[in-house]
Each structure stands twice: as structure tokens, then as C-alpha cells.
């Protein structure tokens, strides 16, 4: 039981963060508006959660301009993908054990 708890990652302990990671796991990248729409989050909310994930190097941020509009792309890093998998495995085990 101790091991399972060990693998639960604090960085993912919010549904928006889990959501961001799950979208980035199956897509090469996602931009800010796509994430906002999929997760039903507000601008500020999403920005703070992406920042938190960026801080621990689980996602990468690429800023660019499309025409004159700024466009922000988010990409999951190798580390982020690895940690996310561990986290999900731990969640699944936790549910099965109960």
C-alpha cells in the first residue's frame, strides 16, 4: 500500500492538470484554446495549471505568432509522459485494492 501512495504524484492532483496531461499524451501538441474548450476551464485557471506543470518540466511551452495573433502550443515532455503513466497505474491499483 505504501508503494502505491508513493507513486501518486502531487503535481497531477487536480482534474484540470490531469486533463491537460491526458490530452497531451495522445496528441503531438495542443494549443491554449483547444485545451480551454476540451476542459471547460477559464483563461486564468488554465494558465495557472499549465504554469504549474511547466515548472516541474512535465510540459513544454512554445509561443509563436500566427499572423498577428499569438499562439501558444503545449507539448508533453518525456518526463511528463513517464510520470503520468506512473500516476495512472498507481490510481488503477488503488481502485482495485479497495
Amino acid at each position: 500500500m505504501k508503494n502505491i501512495i508513493l507513486n501518486i504524484n502531487k503535481a497531477f492532483d487536480h482534474r484540470i492538470r490531469l486533463g491537460i496531461m491526458s490530452v497531451l499524451m495522445v496528441n503531438e501538441y495542443a494549443d491554449f484554446n483547444t485545451l480551454k474548450e476540451l476542459l471547460g476551464a477559464t483563461d486564468g485557471n488554465l494558465a495557472s495549471h499549465t504554469k504549474a506543470l511547466e515548472k516541474v518540466d512535465f510540459i513544454k511551452v512554445e509561443k509563436q505568432f500566427i499572423g498577428r495573433k499569438p499562439n501558444t502550443k503545449y507539448i508533453a515532455t518525456e518526463l511528463g509522459k513517464k510520470e503520468f503513466k506512473k500516476h495512472i497505474d498507481a490510481l488503477e491499483k488503488l481502485i482495485k485494492n479497495k
Binding site: R15, L18, S22, V26, T34, L38, I88, L91, L94, I95
Partner: protein
């Protein structure tokens, strides 16, 4: 957090992964109808062909023009039905019909299909007619396989089936017509029906 919350998390993760990477509003019914159009088109083609009495189809003959028209009508009807029914289903599912996901789906489908189409036109121009049927099935199968990454998994198996039929057709070119009937007619109906029962009926 209780395990119920974790369970909810996991199911939400799964939906998000599917929703963001796959376009799931593809209509099974349009597959069935495309198959029927193909069968009707094939019946007309066969009827005219036997009526004509010649063993070979000559380019620039009336029957050749009729066959081209026949194929075009079947194609336009199938694509039109697919667009109409899929848009309707997407609206019902509250999914977007034109976003980066559907663009990816369409490019991955159209690029191999277009490459194949141009290649077929080139070899027709060089008067190599024998493999046309096989090539159409083959490239259509490859296009489906390529597009299946972004939509319902069943499309992949339809792609494999068309590829196998295309290769068989290349070995037995004189049965090309019948491979077409199986590939574009019956297989569309079978896969369309299986998708309809699996996803559309709720």
C-alpha cells in the same frame, strides 16, 4: 480522495483522450448507403456491358463514357451522403465538424487517395489499363488505413480488407469487376452496418 473520485478521474481521462484525438462522429449509415450506391452503379455497368456485346471495353467508346459517368455519380452520391450524415451526427454529439482534428483526418485520407488517383491517370494515359481496378482498391485501402488513426478503429479493418482485395485483384485482373463489387459494395455495407450497430444506435 475516495476511490470513487479516482474512478471518475480515470473515466474522464479516457473520454478526453478519445475526444481530443479521434473524430467519433463518422456515420455508419453513410457507409451502408455508399455500398448500396456502388452496387446499383455496378448493376448498371454490368447491364450496359452485356448489352454492348463487345468483349473488351474500348476507350472513347460510348460505353466507356457511360462507365466514367457511372463511377462519378456513385462517387459524388457517396461523398455527399457521408458529409450530410456525418455533419448531422456531429451536431447531435455537439462535436465540431471543422477543427484541427477533422483537418488532420481529411488530409491523412485525401493525400494517399489523391496520389493514387493521379498515378492511375498517368498509367491510363500510357495505355496500361489492366491494373486500374486493383490500384483503386489498393490506394483506397491505404487511405482508409492512414485516416483510421484519427477516427473509429473499425475503419482500419475496412482499410486492410480493401488492400487485400486490391492485391488479389492485381493477381486476377480479369475478375476486377467482381473485386470492385465486393470491395466498394459489400464491404462498405458490412462495415457500415457493424459501425451503425456499435456506435449510432443508442
Amino acid at each position: 480522495m475516495s476511490s470513487e473520485n479516482y474512478l471518475k478521474d480515470i473515466s474522464e481521462i479516457k473520454t478526453l483522450m478519445n475526444k481530443s484525438s479521434r473524430f467519433i462522429s463518422l456515420s455508419g449509415l453513410s457507409g451502408i448507403l455508399a455500398g448500396f450506391y456502388a452496387l446499383i452503379g455496378a448493376t448498371f455497368a454490368y447491364w450496359f456491358y452485356t448489352l454492348d456485346g463487345n468483349e473488351y471495353i474500348v476507350i472513347e467508346s460510348e460505353i466507356f463514357n457511360f462507365l466514367i459517368l457511372d463511377i462519378l455519380i456513385v462517387g459524388i452520391l457517396s461523398v455527399g451522403t457521408a458529409i450530410f450524415l456525418t455533419t448531422k451526427k456531429a451536431k447531435k454529439n455537439d462535436e465540431k465538424i471543422w477543427d484541427s482534428l477533422t483537418r488532420r483526418l481529411l488530409t491523412s485520407f485525401i493525400v494517399p487517395l489523391l496520389a493514387g488517383g493521379i498515378y492511375i491517370l498517368i498509367i491510363l494515359n500510357q495505355q496500361k489499363y489492366g491494373q486500374t481496378g486493383a490500384l483503386m482498391l489498393l490506394f483506397y485501402g491505404l487511405a482508409l488505413l492512414n485516416a483510421s488513426k484519427y477516427t473509429l478503429g473499425d475503419v482500419k479493418y475496412l482499410g486492410y480488407t480493401q488492400i487485400i482485395l486490391g492485391l488479389l485483384c492485381a493477381v486476377f485482373p480479369s475478375y476486377g469487376f467482381w473485386f470492385w463489387v465486393i470491395g466498394f459494395g459489400f464491404m462498405h455495407i458490412i462495415y457500415g452496418a457493424s459501425m451503425y450497430y456499435k456506435y449510432d444506435r443508442k
